[in-house]
């Protein structure tokens, strides 16, 4: 099923680095604009505290203490986890078709993890203490707090991904050095420090093992583990409990990540005329994965709804009834279902495939998964086992300050890709040349 893109030359590969267009500047302006909007609002939060959000205390307080910030945090972590899982799968299973988008997926992981970090930073009441309180507490708290598990695993995972990227980038930079701009010489020297062609074989094995570790860790620890455990281990909220959260979170992560990769790959293909480098087959393949993951996502939602309403304990039943009475939930489910149907339809009838529709579907899926995640957090907090309070379920609609942060982080991802694509090749050399060819 492999596609042959080996006809593409090295010139094409480094095109983003060698060009500088008005369109690029416009994209840069959009990225800074989005970040600027967020910073404008965020300054208010710095000045006045979290009171500028629409969060409040649950209980007599009539609100919810976690909201969009935490929902968006999980969403970004999901995109990140999914991205690296897909890239690891490509390397591990030798799925060469997707080689042209593997590095984009890895870069997306780094960018998305950064955004997740931003959300933790702005979620807490005392960001100034993140280092002074967390580091000293780590040795004694890591065995207890699921939040500490998260911080630990996400950090470990960031390091793994960065290592993985760094190792493969050295290879490319060394070989494409003559086509890369001289102004960035110091950067390249750092990237390739100590590089000799003898390391290639070793690196290849290392990369394989890292990919292997990521695939193993994914369901056990990452998005199938510590992230859902943040919620499913608590004794307080009815809607969060249960073992289905792990698989459910993982399915959402994979669905979101495929969507993210589709959007970013399509953007690069469009901007740099990379029709040959990232051919339609890649997108058609990704569409199938999107359909498949959407199906699993929907299946796990069905599991939760059915077990939640058929003779379930009172509080869980109540939580589930409210969930399925929420219009936004059905919007989220509907968007994912639509994407699934489209993806499957295109594989049956290839003439239905249109990259613009696919990108549109991907955007819809990302909106749907974000909505689902935020609902999961908020509605979870609205259905405590102890619901004697008149103030439970609490009310919550995100404030402009909170919504702007989602825009800001999207801006960060765009900016990240704009900058990185000017420095290193975002598609690896192996996509266009086999090992022997490269070294010949």
């Amino acid at each position: 099923m492999s596609v042959d893109v080996t006809g593409v030359d090295r010139e094409t590969l480094v095109r983003p680095i060698q060009t500088f267009t008005k369109r690029y500047l416009a994209a840069l302006a959009v990225a800074f604009g989005l970040i600027g909007v967020w910073l404008f609002f965020y300054v208010q939060q710095l000045q006045h505290g979290l009171i500028v959000t629409n969060l409040a205390d649950w209980g007599s307080g009539g609100g919810v203490p976690w909201g969009l910030y935490i929902g968006a945090f999980i969403w970004w972590v999901g995109i990140a986890h999914g991205g690296i899982i897909l890239s690891a799968a490509v390397r591990l299973l030798g799925m060469d078709t997707y080689q042209p988008v593997a590095r984009l997926a890895e870069l997306l992981t780094i960018a998305a993890l950064t955004c997740a970090g931003v959300f933790i930073l702005i979620h807490v009441g005392r960001p100034d203490r993140l280092v002074t309180s967390v580091l000293p507490a780590w040795p004694t708290r890591v065995q207890w707090s699921p939040l500490m598990w998260d911080v630990t695993v996400i950090t470990a995972y960031f390091v793994l991904t960065a290592t993985y990227l760094a190792l493969t980038i050295r290879y490319d930079v060394h070989r494409l050095r003559d086509r890369l701009p001289n102004v960035l010489e110091p950067v390249y020297r750092v990237i390739t420090v100590g590089y000799t062609e003898k390391e290639d074989q070793v690196v290849e094995r290392m990369v394989w093992w890292i990919a292997f570790a990521i695939i193993i860790m994914a369901p056990l620890l990452l998005h199938g583990g510590v992230i859902p455990w943040l919620f499913s281990l608590l004794p307080s909220m009815a809607g969060w409990h249960g073992g289905v959260q792990g698989p459910s979170f993982l399915s959402i992560a994979l669905t979101s990540a495929v969507s993210g990769i589709i959007i970013i790959s399509a953007a690069f293909r469009y901007a740099y005329g990379w029709d040959e480098l990232i051919p339609d087959t890649v997108f058609q393949g990704l569409a199938k994965w999107l359909g498949f993951f959407s199906l699993i996502f929907l299946w796990l939602q069905l599991q939760q709804v059915i077990t939640g309403i058929f003779a379930a304990p009172t509080t869980l039943q109540h939580a589930t009834e409210v969930k399925i009475a929420t219009p936004l939930y059905w919007v989220a489910i509907g968007l994912v279902a639509l994407a699934m149907l489209y993806a499957f339809a295109t594989s049956l009838r290839p003439e239905l495939y249109d990259i613009r529709v696919l990108v549109g579907m991907s955007v819809a899926v990302l909106f749907g998964t974000l909505a689902e995640k935020v609902l999961f957090v908020v509605e979870g907090l609205q259905h405590a086992h102890f619901d004697l309070y008149a103030g439970v379920p609490g009310a919550y609609i995100p404030s402009p300050v909170e919504i702007s942060a989602v825009l800001g982080t999207v801006g960060i991802v765009v900016l990240f890709f704009l900058v990185v694509s000017k420095v290193i090749p975002v598609v690896e050399l192996h996509a266009i040349e086999d090992h022997e060819e490269v070294d010949a």
């Binding site: 009441g125 993140l130 000293p136």
Partner: protein, 421 residues
């Protein structure tokens, strides 16, 4: 115990030394004494011997003389003399006080008070003094913990719902005592109607349950929410909390109130005595901005910082004229919560002669959602609200007492809505 009460910045020894050095007193003496004080707690060293060892050096270092504390001459003390031991304990408490109050300056910063408090704790002086005071001479103050092992102090409550008439006096008292911001109702009184109980109103005063197996302390990523070893109080260290609100999310009872904006009462208006506990940690009164707060069982009172007569009392208990709230040491059979339950039980008619199959008492008691596995230290006399119970308006409206029920209304006014939350 799920939390580790020790400092997490360094090994305990290093941390104590650092604190001791910052106080400007002889750190070596402090460290030696701290070690020996632990031996005393463990019963490996007698108090008299401990006293003998350090008598002269303490006098030299702290200038504590016979005028301030009545130090018996070490050579005249014999270990069988019970009164001498009492006097020695008294003397050590005196030194602890002296150390805490060095400079004796009112305007002293909170931080320096904290350091001295911690230094005194490191010296083992406070521990030695209170071991005698709170456990009736039992040793093992160091490891007693707030557990359910029946040793040491375990503060708790018995709340008699049959006595409560929903007057809300306790809520007001708590609000004032702890300088709470509007709507942060550390004490909250429900009026509710339940299925099968007709139109009759029931009341439920709700504090933090100070759970022995508290989810909030387990989930806290930084150990700010912790159980105090000496008496089982569940407290928040306002100096460490990062404001992630995980404790609030994990607590099954909804008793946490985050400080979303600037507190209504500025710190300058609150005495250090209310804020810093006997370990030198900032855990009392309302939290600062961006930090979590909740009922502390009036930690300042329990540490004797509001006077000896207030130890073993809480503001809500004091304000309750209906005899509904009873606070005290649950490990002590004579304490008010245990006594009240005992008396109330025996006060109910129970004709065992005519109905020999009856239990010994007919009084219904419960703990809130015990099935959640939290082991609450608040028990109630009366009927537990069923899952179908609903909160209703009580005989006294919250507004009439100057209390805001739904805090979201306050928060929605925003940072500059005239009033800050």
């Amino acid at each position: 115990m799920s939390t580790d009460d020790e400092s997490m910045y360094a090994t305990p020894d290093e941390e104590h030394r650092r604190l001791l050095e910052e106080t400007g007193y002889d750190a070596d003496l402090g460290m030696e004494m701290a070690r020996d004080a632990q031996k005393v707690s463990a019963g490996d060293l007698s108090e008299v011997e401990f006293y003998r060892r350090y008598h002269d050096r303490i006098l030299e270092e702290f200038d504590v003389d016979d005028r301030e504390v009545d130090l018996p001459d070490p050579d005249e003390v014999d270990s069988g003399d019970v009164n001498a031991i009492d006097r020695i304990e008294g003397a050590f408490e005196g030194i602890g006080e002296t150390l805490r109050g060095v400079d004796g300056d009112e305007s002293e910063s909170r931080r320096s008070v904290m350091k001295k408090g911690a230094a005194a704790a490191a010296l083992g002086l406070g521990g030695l003094g209170s071991a005698g005071a709170t456990t009736g001479g039992d040793d093992g103050a160091a490891g007693a913990g707030g557990g359910d092992d029946g040793e040491g102090t375990r503060w708790g409550m018995t709340i008699n719902l049959n006595n409560c008439d929903g007057c809300l006096a306790c809520m007001v008292a708590c609000d004032q005592e702890h300088n709470l911001s509007e709507g942060a109702n550390w004490m909250y009184v429900f009026a509710f109607e339940d299925e099968g109980q007709g139109e009759q109103e029931n009341f439920l005063p709700r504090t933090c349950q100070h759970c022995t197996d508290s989810p909030c302390t387990k989930v806290c990523p930084v150990g700010a929410r912790h159980t105090r070893e000496e008496d089982g109080l569940v407290l928040t260290d306002y100096d460490i909390c990062i404001g992630c609100r995980y404790c609030e999310v994990s607590c099954p009872y909804g008793v946490n109130y985050f400080q979303w904006g600037e507190p209504d009462v500025p710190e300058s208006e609150i005495d250090d005595d209310h804020q810093i506990d006997d370990r030198g940690r900032w855990v009392g009164s309302r939290p600062p901005e961006g930090v979590m707060g909740k009922c502390t069982f009036c930690v300042d009172r329990q540490d004797g910082q509001m006077g000896e007569e207030k130890v073993g009392t809480t503001a809500c208990e004091e304000a309750c004229t209906m005899d509904a709230i009873h606070f005290g040491d649950l490990n002590d059979p004579e304490s008010p919560p245990n006594q009240h339950l005992e008396e109330y039980r025996s006060g109910q008619e129970n004709d065992l002669e005519e109905f020999p199959n009856r239990k010994e008492h007919t009084v219904s008691t419960f703990k809130l959602m015990e099935e959640r596995g939290t082991e609450p230290n608040v028990q109630f006399i009366g009927n537990e609200p069923s899952p179908h119970a609903e909160q209703v308006e009580g005989p006294v409206a919250y507004e009439d007492m100057g209390i805001t029920d739904n805090r979201k209304e306050v928060l929605d006014r925003g940072a500059d809505g005239g009033e800050e939350a």
